[in-house]
Symmetry: C2
Subunit: 399 residues, 2 copies
């Protein structure tokens, strides 16, 4: 397996474009991704009880499958927009289908941006027309830029591997950056592959991958109305279709997870106002899920995040945040490390060199490792520090 | 019922003192409260899996009852301090018992402050001796000051009412202010009354009151290792002991809840770096518990808190935070009000006067009201805004 810095057009048969539809004040803000062959699709969607209409629309399209295209706009989430919002989502799919000569139910739709404002459908229509006419193998980068909201950098990740005798490719893009600016809907991740995979195996695998990667990113703890992660697999690599029992399935699974984790880390690193990436590893929990839950609780804690910003080796906050994750464990079995430096043993203080701790905390990536004595469960979560800029960015937007 | 600004020594038979034990660098930091007659006690304790030894000790003393005294130190939480920490908690109870001629199991113990450092027991012992020698009816105020950590003001609340022909009094003190400074253990609340109340009725009532008041305060979302709320009832008012079936029980219940809610609001108002008190009312939820959970989710949202700081009428964030509380509801049945100004109708945007919204958000107390169409459940939560000062206070402490 080889990791590459490529996006959604890296796998065979995928074309894309990102264009200026003038939904935002400036910059590209509408992306279309198109696959020459029909795709098996898998999706994981926000659990928020308030969901934008694109969430239910796209969930249905994924379930029905196969799909051919994806349209995403930034700048307006089309959430809390009533019956008109539902109509506008359907219209986006219709417009793309019309341009590409496919069916509306083959088009996945995602939106991100301000809540509570109806989409400017004339500009959306113009953008869709333009994007569909510009689809190309080089369009992955502009597509990844067009889905950004308060993200400061586009986020792409890819991988190349061999299944049987076939070269198989994975390419992906994502946007994140807290719930941010106005009421930007947090996280969107779009993964594409030319691997042929059995639909049921793809579904299950994608759920697992998302639970270990995108769901482990905690920026400000708020869960958006629009978040979704989608995977499209068009099978154009020509490999024998993988089932979960196939001996080569784990190779594909690892590559997919690796690409997803690269994006998850990129999202955390680019959290609103963030100056540091925070990686929290929990080992020895009662299960992998327990470990992931505890890791998220630590990565989400305002007190831990503020201490990382202040480069303060405050392990008490880490143990405390582990304690309120809702997962039982024995505190006396807990050790805590900052990087390689142990700062807590058996749940109690351990004398440590403050200068070494400061050196660890000064790095742009800070690793917190927590070991427990409950079992063999492992999990990682990513977050960022809590900074003055976070408050500044979020204190006002609409004005 | 009459509300008064009095503390724990307001009810008959309660004496208190707050002294300088030199656990903190300055100020009073050790309090003792004593009741001339034995007390029925009730307690609600932190649900964090990492608990200071005083939590299990005091829980047992409350269960066993009756109790006579309470000792609290600030500046050191005696949490994550191993077997020595357990021994020190017991020793605190023994020292108080020795001074007052009572039994150690009649002494409730609470600590708040830095995590992971053993108590300076020589200074604790000196402080206990001094406090026990200074117990008086005037000592409530110094006791309320001695339990403070990063609180900027002491917090007391009291009430006077009549049960039968007897004047009954309630007096209380609390400390809050985020998890703050170092790893200060959040919330401690101590309520005293001279009302005679049946033990079982007292237990159940106190649990209900805490669930509607102290548990509805969300400062930074972190739940401490040391939080507890205690109620001591010595029966010295001479009323017939109240049972839950007594027609006058609701009068006492209302007074107790009112005093507790005054303290809960005072804690929220004094959150770390807070410039505004945030009150979130949810009406029309499927149950009171559902309403309280949704209200907490809104009051806890970093995005809502930052918007209140920025005086930005960002109702989308409010609806979004309601949506991820984990409670099902129909978004199209939701209306949102800032003060009296409606800003969202049927889950969608409603044109409103920005100047009026700004006027509401400029006040030191901001009321967010959310109405739903699920049932008759109601609940209130309190929080504060997220400010630059919050980050500043929490970015470094140990250094």
């Amino acid at each position: 397996m080889r990791m590459v810095e490529e996006g959604v057009t890296f796998p065979q048969g995928f074309l894309a474009a990102g264009v200026e539809a003038h939904i935002k004040k400036k910059d590209v803000d509408l992306a279309v991704v198109y696959s020459e062959d029909p795709c098996q699709a898998a999706g994981v969607f926000t659990t928020n009880k308030v969901q934008a209409s694109c969430v239910s629309y796209t969930r249905r399209a994924v379930e029905q499958g196969p799909v051919r295209a994806l349209v995403v706009n930034s700048g307006n989430a089309n959430a809390c927009t009533g019956p008109q919002g539902v109509e506008d989502t359907i219209q986006m799919a219709r417009l793309v289908a019309g341009e590409l000569g496919i069916e509306p139910h083959e088009v996945l739709v995602a939106s991100t941006g301000v809540i509570g404002v109806n989409l400017p459908m004339d500009r959306i229509a113009g953008g869709i027309k333009k994007a569909c006419s510009q689809l190309s193998k080089d369009g992955g980068e502009s597509a990844s830029a067009a889905i950004m909201t308060t993200d400061t950098v586009p986020k792409q990740a890819g991988a190349e591997l061999t299944i049987g005798d076939c070269a198989v490719r994975i390419g992906a893009m994502a946007k994140g950056s807290g719930m941010i600016h106005p009421n930007m809907a947090t996280m969107l991740a779009f993964m594409a592959t030319d691997c042929a995979v059995d639909k049921e195996a793809l579904d299950r695998l994608f759920r697992e991958v998302v639970s270990r990667t995108f769901n482990q990113v905690s920026l400000d703890g708020d869960t958006s109305t629009n978040a979704m992660a989608l995977l499209m697999a068009n099978g154009m690599a020509g490999n024998h279709p993988l089932t979960a029992a196939d001996p080569e399935f784990p190779v594909f699974a690892r590559a997919l997870e690796y690409a997803a984790s690269q994006l998850a880390k990129a999202i955390a690193r680019d959290g609103e106002g963030a100056s540091k990436l925070l990686e929290v590893k929990v080992e020895g929990a009662s299960s992998d899920e327990a470990a992931r839950t505890i890791a998220r609780s630590i990565a989400r804690s305002n007190l831990v995040k503020a201490a990382v910003f202040g480069e303060d080796a405050n392990w008490g906050r880490i143990l405390c945040a582990a304690g309120y994750a809702g997962i039982p464990f024995r505190p006396e079995g807990v050790n805590i490390y900052l990087g390689d430096l142990q700062v807590c043993e058996h749940g109690a203080a351990l004398p440590f060199d403050e200068a070494v701790a400061l050196e660890v905390l000064r790095q742009p990536e800070v690793l917190i490792r927590v070991t427990m004595s409950e079992g063999r469960g492992e999990g990682v979560a990513w977050g960022c520090d809590l900074t003055y800029d976070y408050v500044k960015i979020n204190a006002s937007y609409r004005t």
